[in-house]
């Protein structure tokens, strides 16, 4: 196991272009961007469908449909159609964030015991207050699960996206493969794997903190 | 016969579930274990089929310690009915009932044929055979649970709050069926309930437990009602136990007056009672026979507009009347004996 690339301090410089820390940062940056945009789009839609019950077919099957999209194919399709650059990749990444967030937002709202909502209205809360003080907190465990799923998916796909030009940790893997520099490939694999695992743990921790203690038993991965 | 021989069950946390229980459950009879929650009745029941093991003491079936027997084989010879039936959701009603016979080695076909007969026995139409538990109501599921427990014709049946999960009307029906079935089958039954009325209605022997797993009193329902051992039993049995104990006396030796003393009684040509003539027409009447309980007669006297109950013979002909005064005198006389 040739780890020379990984342990070479030059590759860990914070200023050099293409250094590992830089790649980590851009990887996280693109992932976060796609997550943000995707969540902003999918969350309200999922909540609304869950709230009104209309269009539930979409919400229920979005998750499955999203999972069946081949990530590499989607990336290459976008780039071939729209040319190289950040935008096509971002579009593809965002498309992968939307289904899990949408489905889990829907499922989260549906899982709420209607009697609690009733009680909230009964004590005089306005619709907006019911939504923010009661429904959102109760839907949170399931929604966080979906968000975690989406986050992992994005980080993994951003790795693959190096094949269509994205500047992230995948660069090490793709470039390394191209020049048969296996130590570079390994460095990329290890760093991105650690990044993904750490991210998942951080999100799991956040999930536990954000979700009210009363609901903890139900928040599963 | 099931025997508890100085059985103790203590849990590691420190709670005593059963405190030196010595009790005999007679063969062929229904023994009901009753008491408030935390009194150890369910724990005791489950020591009979070794779902729970005693901390000390022995549980014997026909003189043999259950601890000495193979668990699974022991249980295949004991029927077990629980609240909510615990039916296998993935099997049809018929296959649920056929479970233990098949465990015992009978062929599938034979077990299923026998199962059909059992369904009929517990009052379920044959069309239920191929349905799944999720398609049945609570009362129907309970019947299947009983049929399943009966399937291998075990000499002993354990029943843990079997009728609690259904509504009162369905429950009353299930009680009747239970008494009928037990009348036919004569199994040794150990039943747990928290409902003292159910215990009195269904039990040949009733054992009342106190919290902490202590046996407070054991005896026939009548003994418990008439002579409670202490405050706790008296309270538990209920403040109207006097009235309820009247269920156990028949009207056989209740003296009656001649019909002539009730001029407002209207009879038909065959001397069968139609009703009481009152200011606003004929008031319909219910009657009693000498086999009925004193409790029923008292109730009739109270609900009658004239305060008089009418006795009829086997043919339905009126042959005597009893006023509520007579009743009170009779009851007072009973006490003096």
């Amino acid at each position: 196991m040739n780890l020379s690339y990984l342990f070479d301090p030059a590759h860990w410089s914070l200023t050099a272009d293409g250094s590992i820390p830089q790649l980590i940062l851009s990887h996280l940056y693109y992932s976060a961007l796609a997550l943000l945009i995707g969540t902003v789009i999918a969350l309200p839609i999922g909540l609304w469908i869950g709230h009104t019950g209309r269009g539930s077919f979409i919400a229920i099957n979005a998750g499955n449909a999203g999972r069946s999209l081949p990530t590499l194919g989607l990336l290459m399709l976008m780039v071939t159609l729209l040319g190289l650059g950040l935008l096509p990749v971002l579009i593809a990444l965002t498309m992968l964030v939307i289904p899990p967030v949408l489905t889990s937002a829907y499922a989260g709202v549906r899982a709420i015991d209607q009697r609690v909502v009733d009680a909230a209205k009964g004590v005089g809360m306005r619709p907006r207050q019911v939504l923010t003080k009661v429904e959102l907190p109760l839907a949170l465990p399931v929604m966080m699960s979906g968000f975690r799923s989406a986050a992992l998916q994005v980080v993994a796909t951003a790795t693959v996206a190096a094949a269509v030009g994205l500047n992230g940790l995948g660069r090490l893997l793709i470039d390394g493969l191209a020049v048969n520099d296996y130590s570079r490939v390994l460095a990329g694999a290890i760093v991105v794997a650690v990044l993904a695992v750490v991210l998942d743990l951080v999100l799991a921790f956040a999930q536990r903190r954000i979700v009210s203690p009363g609901l903890r038993e139900r928040s599963s991965r | 016969m099931i025997t508890f021989d100085d059985v103790v069950k203590v849990y590691p946390g420190g709670g005593t579930a059963v405190d030196h229980l010595s009790l005999e459950l007679p063969t062929g009879r229904t023994t009901v274990l009753v008491g408030p929650s935390g009194c150890g009745k369910t724990t005791s029941l489950r020591m009979i089929n070794r779902m729970i093991s005693p901390t000390s003491g022995r549980v014997l079936i026909d003189g043999e310690d259950v601890a000495g027997r193979d668990e699974a084989l022991l249980r295949r010879g004991i029927g077990y009915v629980i609240q909510h039936a615990g039916l296998f959701p993935h099997r049809t009603v018929l296959d649920n009932v056929a479970t233990v016979p098949m465990l015992l080695g009978r062929t599938r076909r034979q077990a299923r044929t026998d199962a059909l007969g059992l369904l009929e026995r517990v009052g379920l139409a044959p069309e239920f055979a191929d349905r799944y538990p999720a398609q049945l109501s609570g009362g129907q599921q309970q019947r299947v649970g009983v049929a399943r427990a009966l399937a291998a014709d075990p000499p002993i049946m354990l029943m843990d709050e079997p009728f609690s999960a259904v509504d009162p009307i369905v429950r009353a029906g299930l009680h009747r069926e239970f008494l009928r079935l037990q009348g036919d089958l004569g199994k040794t039954i150990a039943m747990v309930t928290h409902d003292i009325d159910e215990a009195i209605k269904l039990g040949d022997v009733v054992a009342i437990f106190r919290q902490g797993g202590v046996l407070a009193q054991v005896g026939t329902p009548r003994e418990l009602l008439e002579s409670p051992a202490d405050e706790f039993v008296a309270e538990f049995v209920g403040r109207d136990r006097g009235l309820r104990s009247l269920s156990f006396d028949t009207a056989a030796d209740l003296p009656v007056r001649p019909l002539a003393e009730a001029p407002d009684l209207v009879l038909d040509e065959a001397s069968r009672p139609i009703g009481w003539r009152t200011g606003d027409g004929i008031h319909k009447i219910a009657t009693f026979t000498s086999d009925d309980s004193l409790r029923l007669v008292t109730d009739l006297a109270i609900t009658s507009p004239t305060g008089i109950a009418v006795r009829v013979d086997e043919g339905g002909k009126a042959d005597g009347i009893v006023s509520h005064h007579d009743l009170v005198d009779h009851l007072a006389g009973r006490k003096k004996k």
């Binding site: 999972r67 081949p70 290459m76 399709l77 694999a189 | 295949r76 629980i82 039916l87």
Partner: protein, 216 residues
Amino acid sequence: MTTYLSNNWETVLTALRQHIWLALLPVVVGFVVALPVGYLGVRFPWLYHPLVNTCGVLYSIPSLALFVFLPVVLGTKILSPLNIVVALTIYTVALLARTVADGLRSVDPLVVQSATAMGYRRTRRLVDVELPVALPVILAGLRVATVANISLVSVGALIGVGGLGQLFTRGFQLFYVEPILVGVILSVLLAGAADLVIVLIQRLVTPWTRFQGGAA
């Protein structure tokens, strides 16, 4: 697109065939491995959380990283299809072991108690009662694993093995949309078909779920 298809029928079919067995073999092997592993997580309750956490960590590793890391562990060449199969099997086990454990835990304890009280011994009870009742949950997990695998196989094209993924790389290199579209559509259709098959199997094998309100 149809011109591309008719001209390259052979290539597409070969890619499809490779894709199918690269995706399905891990599902089968993974399922077989996940059953006992998941069961252990229930039989020994202290194992449950470590198991779930390990599975979680394994599942969060990006696919490409795992594909290129395995040759180190396995001693295979980078371009070997075995890497893909092993990686996808690991993912399948990580997903399904947890599903099996959760499925078994979700069986109504009263049903299990009833079975014990009727005289079932542990093993037969597992096979006759607990597994069948847990099956709907397990099969739901199987659907997810299968669809995910079908999508992940194409990433393997980046290390030279990829089933339909080869259509993606070819199209991308030549800046030619057709093969990519064909590949994406076929991949989605394949996933949909596999999902449908499992749903049908589930209906067949668990007929009682039809009567229960709300299922997987």
